[in-house]
């Protein structure tokens, strides 16, 4: 089992975590949707649950909310054991993918819904609603009905409604996925700014890695009911701890090789220096390197044993992807494997790259990950 606290050093100070989830398991009949998951979230943090469809993100979020209580394991919020409590006895605001705005109530009434029967006067409620609408950037829309608003506006109303009661924890289940790409990018920044301004501890579920990378303080990568890795966006991207995370986040070359020593591997006929690993020599190993980490170099011997992880390969195909070229490389030294490298437009020009030509590249050893194919780690 992974212990999470030592991985999240970036954000955890010495104060106890705001949310402590410990050994959570959720079963639907025989099916285990969440398997013994633990996670700490500190006050004010923005955490994203990221993972492929069906990995249990929503299930996890709903367990935290008390909407579908876990089979076993505990949840503590602000030092209070809320493991068994129904949603109404917990302290959170929630926004769903569908927004779940009440269609027959105006924007104002939607936002005010949670403010009523709190011994607040009408004027106070009105004031708070206006404040919230201002906050989400939709003042003067309060008399409209949800169906008269755009998707992005509806999303912000849902956010305002969730924040109305000033909850300690904000839960967002794919809040942006129903929007078109432009609005989504814009709202990412908006939501993030709002969260920072209010300092509300936030958990957002998403299957969009870009969303997670741009918004989260910390990302929880989930896979088949377990947490594979927890870390900052940068940490997750640069230091994937498993093949799954490496493949899931960003683009990754992924080729089969063999361990040679603790710091070298064989790929085709090449022996390459790599990150430290603990695969016994001679056993299969999976090599992984990001396309942008493959460096074009000028000087390299035509063939033979590479020095310094440099070698030549043939350009089989080039794809223009706007800001860069994606280059597919093959070579008999690589065996059946092929690599892709991303080259900036300028670099490609400078090197005069063309299909069919040979190209000298370097695989920096500290960017060459090695995973054990049998454990995936």
């Amino acid at each position: 089992m992974m212990t999470v606290s030592n991985l999240s050093s970036a954000n955890t100070s010495n104060s106890p975590p705001y949310l402590r989830i410990s050994r959570l398991t959720k079963k639907f009949g025989e099916f285990v949707a969440l398997n013994d998951i633990s996670l700490d979230v500190s006050q004010g943090e923005f955490v994203c649950f990221l993972g492929p469809s069906g990995c249990g993100k929503t299930t996890f979020l709903r367990a935290i909310a008390g909407l579908d209580i876990q089979t076993s394991g505990t949840v503590h919020q602000a030092d209070r054991d809320i493991s068994a409590l129904p949603p109404s006895e917990r302290d959170f605001g929630i926004v769903f993918q569908s927004y779940a705005l009440f269609p027959n109530l105006t924007v104002e009434a939607n936002v005010a819904f949670g403010l009523e029967n709190q011994k607040k006067s009408r004027i106070e409620i009105k004031k708070r609603v206006n404040e919230l609408l201002e906050l989400v950037g939709l003042p003067e829309q309060e008399k409209k009905y949800p169906s008269q608003l755009s998707g992005g506006q509806q999303q912000r109303i849902a956010l305002a409604r969730a924040l109305a009661t000033s909850p300690g924890l904000l839960l967002l289940d794919e809040p942006l996925s129903a929007l078109d790409a432009k609005v989504r990018t814009y709202l990412r920044r908006e939501v993030k700014a709002l969260q920072r301004k209010l300092g509300v501890t936030t958990i957002m579920v998403t299957h969009d890695q870009e969303e997670a990378l741009t918004m989260a303080d910390r990302i929880v990568v989930m896979n088949a009911g377990t947490i594979d890795q927890v870390g900052t966006p940068m940490g997750i991207y640069r230091e994937p701890e498993s093949l799954f995370v490496a493949d899931f986040i960003g683009t990754m070359n992924h080729v089969d090789g063999q361990a040679v020593s603790a710091e070298s591997v064989r790929l085709g006929s090449l022996t390459l220096a790599c990150r430290r690993h603990d695969i016994p020599p001679g056993k299969p190993a999976v090599l992984a390197i990001r396309p942008e980490d493959i460096l074009p170099v000028d000087d390299v011997a035509d063939a033979g044993t590479p020095t310094d992880n440099r070698f030549k390969a043939t350009v089989r195909e080039m794809e223009f992807l706007g800001s860069f070229w994606r280059i597919h490389l093959v070579d008999k030294q690589l065996g059946d494997s092929h690599l892709i490298a991303d080259l900036s437009v300028n670099a490609a020009l400078r090197m005069d790259t063309a299909v069919g030509q040979k190209m000298a590249i370097k695989l920096p050893p500290d960017r060459l990950y090695v995973f054990n194919p049998s454990t995936g780690r």
């Binding site: 089992m1 410990s22 050994r23 959570l24 398991t25 013994d36 909310a65 008390g66 909407l67 209580i69 876990q70 089979t71 076993s72 394991g73 505990t74 493991s83 068994a84 409590l85 129904p86 949603p87 109404s88 006895e89 917990r90 959170f92 605001g93 929630i94 769903f96 569908s98 779940a100 009440f102 269609p103 027959n104 109530l105 009434a109 819904f113 949670g114 009523e116 029967n117 009905y145 949800p146 169906s147 008269q148 409604r161 969730a162 109305a164 009661t165 909850p167």
Partner: protein, 661 residues
């Protein structure tokens, strides 16, 4: 590592409250449905018979007591009772003197008598004697000795039923009529639906309205119209070429009339969801129209056709009003129940026939549910609606066909109206309103009409509240799986229970002095309870469908905002579901106005109903007033539907701002 602690979720206040409500409504269904059915079922297994070996006599003609003889021995020589005379009901009585043909109460003969069944008794003048000892009587006293049957639990009633041809023949009759009607109605309705859906003929709106007329009138009204048309003094009697309208012909024609709209609604829906892309494919493959019809249209609508068949079958086999009015000597199960209970006071046999009727009704119901589930699965796949293109010849055929059906439906209704308005068919054809002067007739008079409206309104009000609350709780509560499953079952059950069976069960359950609820027997309350229960299922399904269309997360949002469910219910759920709620209330009202079968056993002189009055006046030979009362029900239902239409329209207009469509 030790396993993590298992969490027992704490039930929220809302869920506790909802469970409470749900239990109350479930209890209602148990009391209004499960208990009465149980009472009926157990009644059907209660047999009462005279076991002659258990009665013993001794006679003293002045020369000392003779030998002990049993009634059985006497009957062996005298044959005063045939075997079928021995089977009786719980109230069966037998005079002891029938075993003594030369009995005279003036004689000096003395008699001794005892009965040996520890659970039985006999009546000695006015006393009920339960012991098994000898009692001595003078002839004067002896003539007042009444033997009571032994009661036991067993299949006796069923054995009697199935060994009495006059009774079990009804099974064959009922099945025959129901299947025949099903075939005819479904074919006719399919043609009508096809014309509405696939042609560009004119007057579609009018045809749609006309086709719904039969829903608004009691099922016995077409029977009355047929009597006027083809009865002994019928206007068109000649057209029958000597055949008799009283019997299968009349029942089938009338049944086709009243089941037509039900089949049409289902088949229209089925045709409307079939996919236009399949037709385009068929055209591009140059399939003939005939081939396309059999390979695309029929398979596409098959679930609708099957479902419509079961619904029609069920309506016909459980209907009571129509065969009562026009069945003549042709016995059907539903009428048998009535005859056994009202005519012969044989409640046990009524219960047996009810159980017999339950079998096909339950089967048709469960098969229909099964098929409908499949149709829903078919529905969820996205399809492109079919757009008919003008085709002169086809449109003309469709128009003529629909007109023909329209004439049939409107024709029968007009005949009723005509019958209601003329003074005395066929002798005095002057128009008058005399037949509407119900107060001079048997059947309850105008009071019955007012009662019906009261019943309709109360049923609509109480029923809508109960049904919608129940559906809301069962749909939205968290946890309580067993309770929910049980509730769903109870809510579906009424549809499988024929009205006659429900009504009879109510007699057994509520007309029992030991039942603390018995005071409601004979009041408006029991009529409302019975009607709400009878029409529960369709209303429940309507409510569930509406609730399912709401965002599933509303409750989650409300609870995260710490707002109780009833606030959400009042401010959001009810307003959003208002069209469905109005649909439920009009459905309940119209059915309460027209139903006969469920209430026929339950009304009292104070609570006579219009629909029952139609039947009773017809029974008494006052056919014209019966038609007039039937028409009153029709006008009322039309008015109710119009009000419903305006309210719904107004509501849609007011809520247009937030409704997308």
């Amino acid at each position: 590592m030790p396993p993590a602690p298992i969490i027992r979720p704490k039930t929220s206040k809302d869920d506790k409250l909802m469970a409470g409500f749900m239990i109350v409504i479930a209890l209602y269904l148990v009391v209004a449905l499960a208990f009465p059915l149980y009472a009926m079922l157990s009644k059907s297994f209660k047999t009462a018979s005279f076991d002659l070996k258990k009665y013993e006599f001794q006679v003293n003609k002045g020369d000392g007591w003779g030998p002990v003889v049993s009634a059985f021995e006497i009957n062996q020589t005298l044959h005063v009772l045939k075997p079928e005379d021995l089977v009786t009901s719980a109230d069966g009585r037998l005079y002891a003197t029938i075993f003594f043909p030369d009995f005279s109460f003036r004689s000096k003969t003395k008699y001794r008598f005892r009965q040996l069944d520890p659970n039985s008794s006999f009546i000695d003048g006015t006393r009920q004697i339960t012991d098994n000892d000898w009692h001595t009587y003078t002839a004067k006293e002896f003539r007042r000795i009444i033997l009571r049957p032994s009661q036991s639990i067993g299949l006796g009633n069923y054995i009697t039923y199935f060994s009495t041809p006059a009774l079990f023949r009804s099974i064959k009759n009922s099945l025959f009529i129901s299947i025949l009607t099903t075939l005819i109605t479904v074919s006719l309705a399919f043609g009508f639906a096809y014309a509405l859906n696939r042609s560009t003929m004119r007057f579609k709106g009018i045809f749609r309205i006309i086709a719904m007329i039969p829903i608004l009138i009691p099922s016995l009204l077409p029977g009355i119209a047929l009597v006027y048309l083809f009865g002994n003094q019928g206007m068109l009697k000649g057209l029958l070429f000597g055949a008799d309208i009283y019997g299968p012909i009349g029942i089938v024609v009338g049944a086709v009339f009243f089941t037509f709209p039900h089949a049409l609604i289902i088949i229209t829906t089925a045709l409307a969801i079939s996919d236009a892309r399949l037709y385009e494919a068929a055209i591009s493959l140059r399939a003939s129209a005939w081939r396309t019809f059999w390979t695309v249209t029929i398979p596409g609508a098959r679930y609708g056709l099957i479902s419509a068949s079961f619904v029609v079958f069920n309506l016909v086999i459980t209907d009571f009003g129509l065969p009562k009015v026009i069945g003549g000597q042709y016995n059907m199960l539903a009428v048998d129940i009535y005859k056994q209970v009202i005519g012969q006071q044989n409640f046990e046999m009524g219960a047996v026939v009810s159980v017999v009727l339950l079998v096909p009704a339950m089967m048709a119901f469960s098969l229909d549910r099964y098929v409908q589930k499949k149709q829903i699965a078919q529905l969820s796949s996205r399809s492109v609606p079919y757009e008919p293109k003008p085709n002169r010849r086809f449109d003309a055929i469709c128009l003529s066909y629909c007109s023909l059906m329209g004439v049939f439906i409107v024709g029968l209704l007009l005949v009723c109206q005509y019958a209601a308005l003329i003074k005395l068919w066929p002798y005095n054809l002057h128009l008058s309103l005399a037949n509407y002067n119900f107060d001079v007739m048997d059947g309850g008079g105008w009071r019955a009409y007012i009662n019906s409206i009261r019943l309709g309104l109360l049923t609509a009000l109480v029923g809508t509240v109960v049904v919608f609350s129940g559906a809301y709780m069962v749909e939205k509560i968290n946890g309580f799986r067993v309770l929910r499953t049980g509730f769903q079952f109870l809510a579906m059950l009424p549809m499988a229970i024929p009205g006659m069976v429900l009504g009879l069960s109510y007699i057994f359950f509520f007309n029992n002095p030991a039942n603390p609820l018995s005071p409601i027997y004979g009041t408006m309350v029991i009529l409302v309870v019975c009607t709400v229960t009878h029409f529960y299922t369709v209303s429940h399904l309507t409510a569930i469908t509406a609730l399912k269309q709401m965002d599933r997360e509303f409750e989650a949002v409300a609870s995260s905002l710490k707002q109780p469910f009833y606030k959400l219910l009042a401010k959001v759920t009810v307003p959003v579901c208002m069209p469905a709620i109005l649909d439920i209330s009009i459905y309940l009202f119209v059915n309460a106005m027209t139903t006969v079968s469920a209430v026929i056993f339950l009304y009292s002189p104070d609570t006579a109903l219009a629909s029952v009055a139609v039947m009773n006046m017809d029974d008494a030979g006052d056919i014209a007033p019966a038609a007039a009362m039937g028409m009153m029900i029709f006008y009322t239902n039309v008015a109710a539907r119009l009000i419903h239409l305006f309210v719904t329209r107004g509501l849609t207009k007011r809520t247009q701002a937030w409704r997308k469509r």
